[in-house]
Symmetry: C2
Subunit: 319 residues, 2 copies
DNA sequence: AAGTACAACGACATCGTTTACGTAAAATTA
DNA sequence: TAATTTTACGTAAACGATGTCGTTGTACTT
């Protein structure tokens, strides 16, 4: 008991005995048993992080930031990938809550999954990243999807493009819906009649679909891609069809990726604060865990910026 | 006790009572308490993964593969980033071993850190990925670094380049040493006298260093970059200096990255089987944990392939 | 019919820590 | 000085699952 008090910094321990304990700990190479601690209802000092795909640049940056912020407060991070499959996601959440973690950071693949109600109902704090959920209220951290898309499409409109198409993936996601809504807003504002939305599925099938779209007589003269995957597929397709971005066709993507500067012409994109997203979400979750933050759930929206480079038709990349 | 036997599939349970137990479990929404299980010395069904940087493409792909293989066997993964700092790495390992995990996958930043002896001496199985350690023997999974570098530099030699420089990062790492050794092997074999090795530090400082190297009168006519970071920095530098890869200078990198196909000219690189690296390492670790594999430590070396594209000077990218 | 083997289950102790409580000794107060 | 409070420990119980062992019941021998 004295050892326990000493370790947990309880005041009623004499400096003399504290020293004896410390020496014994060193001599015996003693380490507190984590399992036993948790059995008595203590915090596990660990959080869970569930993302669709760690190898996606966006999520890998988010994960990195989460990891960093958690470590700064001596928290460990469970990492799990849901592969965009609600069943896997539910299983991962189940594993984590019973393992136990003190809180969960979740990038939900589906916003209406019934199992989500269950976690939120439990006493494990949950913060959603990037996408909110609809069946229950949790804290959530996201970005200005709609406004960002408006900025992107507005820029294409200013360039004078007449036929701007919107290309996306996973169009059922809230984030995607918002970006597509932004696309529509911008066109409506500009009073353009041409409106064409295309959802790509797999990498393989997208090739054919894009080739058809871009080879048509009345093909679009500009493209707004709603996430990095579709941006990359479009760049590949344009390269294969030998259509010059910025000259023959304009392109602005949502979600900026580092290597966009290395492509010729460099790619104009809406930059999301991925690292900050992870930081903010983690800090919020840890506050919830420590009871430092007690209000009802909050929704934090971070701003995005349009990074102008060359694929939109601008001559010079902006600083 | 009957519930325990039923859950763990002990044979001495009547179907009738098993059914009763199952019903009770469902009715009470009972879940075994993980902490209590571990207290009795059971496996935690979790492994730790420590990489230098999750947001590096190479490691994010490895992490993804680890995650997948682990999940297939119902294992959870702790993710930790060491930020290439031995002190952080040691702390992460310490946290994990006491948390407890059943095994650790480690990409060690330093191969001689004394703390490494301690983990290996403990009873937590360790498998190193990408880089082996030197102070103790563990299972390790890596790639053919030296042979891969030889392939890369041989290819540049065949193109007829006379002044081939080797550019790297973290040259103290075993992997880097091996690649640099491969560079030397190839030049020796080709009886070239020019040999120049450059180690870059941070992204910022590398700019100036590269600019100086590439603007000199007797600048190299070809570059072998020993990892993806240096490849990317070189591409940036060449783009800024407006030096055409493949025409004015040859480039072959070690570690292939998806977007290399999107750059003009596309980048020739040695492709490492990153996903397989993660899979193999995880499978090996789980076998060790389950006692299915008892021999002394093994070192698995996976082959690499040279993906020929255009930056080396070849006209067409290979299929 | 009695003895033997084994299947099916329950009671109890145990893992390592913390909470709650007890009890001295020391410090403070009346 | 006696009464009270505070300090510094120790003891007992608990957390939830499992290993060990004991008990009962059933089937099979002989």
């Amino acid at each position: 008991m004295t050892v326990s008090r000493m370790i947990n910094g309880h005041p009623y321990v004499t400096p003399a005995t504290a020293k004896k304990v410390r020496e014994a700990i060193r001599k015996l190479n003693y380490r507190p048993n984590h399992a036993a601690r948790m059995l008595t209802g203590k915090l596990s000092r660990s959080i869970g992080l569930i993302v669709p795909d760690i190898s996606d640049t966006f999520f890998s940056v988010v994960s990195h930031a989460v990891q960093e912020t958690a470590r700064a407060q001596n928290y460990l991070v469970w990492l799990a990938a849901s592969e965009d499959d609600p069943a896997i996601e539910a299983a991962q959440v189940e594993s984590m809550t019973h393992h136990p973690v003190d809180g969960i950071l979740l990038v939900p693949t589906q916003s209406r999954e019934p199992y989500l109600k269950a976690i939120v109902a439990g006493n494990t704090p949950v913060v959603t990243i990037d996408r909110p959920i609809e069946v229950a209220t949790t804290d959530s951290v996201g970005v200005e999807n709609q406004a960002g898309a408006v900025m992107a499409v507005d820029h294409l409109v200013e360039h004078g493009y007449k036929k701007i198409v919107c290309i996306s993936t996973n169009a059922h996601l809230r984030t995607m819906k918002d970006r597509i809504a932004g696309y529509r807003d911008s066109l409506r504002k500009a009073k353009r009649s041409y409106q064409n939305e295309l959802e790509l599925k797999s990498s393989a099938s997208s090739k054919a679909v894009l080739a058809e779209l871009l080879s048509a007589r009345n093909r679009p003269d500009a493209i707004f891609t709603a996430n990095n995957a579709s941006t990359i597929w479009v760049i590949e397709a344009l390269k294969e069809l030998n259509i010059q971005m910025g000259k023959e066709i304009g392109l602005v993507g949502f979600d900026d990726v580092d290597f966009f500067t290395l492509i010729t012409p460099s790619v104009t994109a809406v930059r999301q604060p991925a690292a900050e997203l992870g930081n903010v979400a983690t800090r919020l979750l840890l506050q919830r865990i420590n009871g430092e933050f007690k209000s009802t759930s909050v929704r934090t929206i971070l701003p995005v910026t349009l990074t102008i480079r060359e694929s939109c038709g601008c001559r010079r990349a902006s600083a």
